[in-house]
């Protein structure tokens, strides 16, 4: 207990709480703006963390991720424009409610479901991650190679519509991670004589370019549509102040519980992402209610609850593989690896041995962030509802400026901005041509670990028959091959069904 008190003191110190509060508010604000999601919000905010303590830095970023996930429901319900794809089901069930004058009710239920999903998933993270890390400590390089290969295949297959494109994105990410001094010989590799890249390409400018700048390029190209949506709401005057009644809670309780379970399960599996969680939960509630298309025609408070609880449960759960094994299962987790690295900390099973106090502090901060989410969302609802009306012509340039500021700070000056611009262009084409930028980023982040474990594996295993001594690696290797086959077949069927329709 004595050793736990300093952790509590650090987590609930006014300075740390202020950063969490700032993070949640900033995240909620960015999430509420149409077209801006949690990836953009977190990537752009990373530079602010350079000068913070490790606990405040991680807590701030987690606050942003949580805030922006919940905040994206605001534009989904009010404008029918999800802040990010995972809020699409919220828009489907919530926008008709807003048109019927029940915007306040839908926003409140969305917030309550978000907080419950987020808190539930945080508790699961606290209970599961350390246990899993203890098992992970027994994993050797051969097993790690198998697990990393399997994770990448799994992510490649699930984060886009084409397995081929997903694998290309993942391999491209690993290839880009090879730039810099080679680990064993220290000789420059793919550097083109640039000393600036001897330590490898900096993660933050790459992430900001792929996530935020590319998104801004696309959004600026769609400025007319965004402006029309903002104008539409300005003239509509459809909001009506309503509360969440006991009857609403009765209708939504089952949906929230199911959403928590689905979102947490989806979050723990690398690569599935929040969209899968929210759509699965929404679909399950739609079927269970027996109302069918009525959900989208008249709106459904339980639909909003189902989608938001699952969407928000995904974020903390996606930290389970990150904290326990060091594998980022989502974009947010990949960005958090960058933040951990800046602070000199390596995520993975040793985290619980070497930085136990930090991780406990992060857990406490995550719970505090959930509570702040409730307060900020509830009392700031009217403010955020006004913010979604701000013209994109004012918002987008500010985000472009913040992107450059972040890339400048972590990327070594103007060089960092150049790297960001290059990956902004790559990200733009990746998004337009449907290549998963998530898989690219995760490949880029796990590339160095994958190379190291592959080298050790090739040193340890000189004959294929020796793989029999590593059953875990074999199982993951077989699963990777099976995953490629199975996911390819599933995607082909989906495409054929779409063509058939």
């Amino acid at each position: 207990m004595d050793s736990f008190l300093p952790v509590l003191e650090a987590a609930f110190a006014p300075g740390n709480l202020a950063w969490i509060l700032f993070g949640v508010t900033l995240g909620y604000l960015v999430g509420a703006l149409p077209g801006l999601g949690k990836g953009t919000a977190t990537a752009v905010a990373i530079p602010l963390t350079f000068y913070l303590s490790p606990l405040a830095a991680i807590a701030f970023l987690v606050g942003i991720a949580k805030g922006s996930t919940a905040g994206s429901a605001v534009s989904a319900i009010l404008l029918n424009t999800p802040g990010e794809p995972s809020s699409t089901p919220t828009a489907m069930a919530g926008y008709p409610l807003a048109r019927a004058g029940k915007a306040q009710k839908a926003l409140k239920m969305g917030l309550f479901a978000s907080v419950i999903g987020d808190l539930f998933s945080t508790i699961v993270l606290i209970l599961v991650a350390q246990e899993l890390a203890e098992y992970a400590l027994g994993i050797g390089p051969v097993e790690l190679t198998g697990i990393l290969a399997f994770s990448l295949v799994f992510i490649a297959g699930l984060s886009g519509r084409s397995m081929i494109k997903g694998l290309i994105a993942g391999l491209f990410g690993i290839l880009v991670s090879c730039i810099g001094l080679e680990v064993e010989t220290g000789s420059p590799r793919l550097t083109f004589g640039l000393i600036e890249v001897y330590d490898g390409l900096p993660l933050i400018p790459v992430a900001i370019g792929m996530l935020a700048l590319s998104e801004m390029m696309i959004q600026i190209g769609q400025r007319q549509r965004l402006q029309e949506e903002a104008d539409l709401l300005r003239g509509s005057g459809i909001r009506e102040d309503r509360v969440v009644t006991l009857g609403d809670w009765r209708r939504s309780a089952r949906a929230i519980l199911r959403g928590c379970l689905i979102g947490t399960g989806v979050g723990i599996l690398p690569g599935l992402g929040a969209s899968v969680g929210s759509f699965l939960s929404y679909g399950a509630e739609r079927r269970a209610s027996g109302r069918g298309a009525d959900f989208e025609e008249t709106g459904a408070i339980e639909g909003v609850a189902a989608a938001e609880s699952a969407d928000n449960a995904v974020v903390p759960a996606s930290f389970v593989p990150l904290f326990a094994i060091g594998i980022p299962g989502s974009v947010i987790a990949a960005i958090l690896i960058g933040a951990f690295t800046i602070q000199g900390i390596t995520p993975g099973p040793l985290l619980f041995l070497e930085n136990r106090d930090l991780i406990l502090g992060v857990y406490m901060s995550m719970i505090a962030a959930s509570l702040f989410l409730l307060l900020i969302g509830y009392f700031g609802q009217n403010v955020f509802a006004r913010i979604v009306r701000v013209s994109p012509a004012l918002v987008m340039p500010i985000v472009v400026f913040l992107c450059c500021l972040g890339a400048y700070l972590q990327g070594g000056g103007a060089f960092g901005i150049g790297v960001m611009a290059l990956f902004g262009v790559i990200g733009f084409f990746a998004k337009k041509y449907d290549f998963s930028f998530v898989t690219f980023l995760i490949g880029f982040v796990i590339g160095p670990s994958f190379e190291l474990s592959l080298r050790q594996t090739l040193g340890l295993v000189t004959d294929v028959s020796e793989l029999l001594d590593h059953p875990v690696a074999l199982v993951f290797g077989v699963l990777a091959v099976f995953g490629v086959w199975r996911l390819t077949v599933l995607q082909r069927r989906q495409r054929e069904a779409i063509v058939g329709d």
Binding site: L175, M217, I220, A393
Partner: protein
């Protein structure tokens, strides 16, 4: 969209072959006493990308032959937006290096605002001023560090 897949497949095929034939041999050392060549992983990735690009190209060709709609991946407005943002960032870097960081930042904010149709002078002046003062206050005063 098979046409965009075909374009992507061909571009990636050229990229993969260039990596294997030119970039990796010239930009990677032999490795000397290293147990495994430094070129191994880049080669594995490039071979993978090339092979998958061939598959993507063949798949797209097949779908085009079956008469599937070609579609447009990037509308003209988005091409212009891409160009505008790149111009703003490029000009900002040049101004940053040769003139001053503050001027570069103003251009970075005002350029996209003008491109997006903002013409109100008080906003064109006020937003860059507020952002620069905010960044100065946050980094120099609150966080106690320096930019530039």
């Amino acid at each position: 969209m098979p046409k965009s897949d075909l374009i992507a497949g061909i571009v990636l095929l050229v990229f993969g072959l260039t990596m294997l034939a030119v970039v990796i041999p010239t930009q990677t050392s032999e490795g000397g006493d290293a147990t495994i060549s430094p070129a191994l992983l880049p080669q594995i990735c490039s071979v993978g990308i090339t092979g998958l690009a061939v598959l993507l190209t063949l798949q797209a060709t097949g779908r085009l032959r079956r008469g599937m709609a070609a579609g447009v991946a990037v509308p003209a407005a988005e091409w212009w937006a891409l160009l505008a943002v790149l111009l703003a960032v490029g000009a900002a870097i040049a101004l940053f290096v040769w003139v001053s960081p503050a001027v570069a930042a103003v251009l970075l904010i005002v350029g996209p605002m003008l491109y997006m149709g903002e013409r109100r002078i008080w906003l064109l002046a006020g937003i860059p001023a507020a952002l620069l003062i905010g960044a100065w206050f946050l980094f120099y005063r609150v966080l106690g560090t320096a930019i530039g």
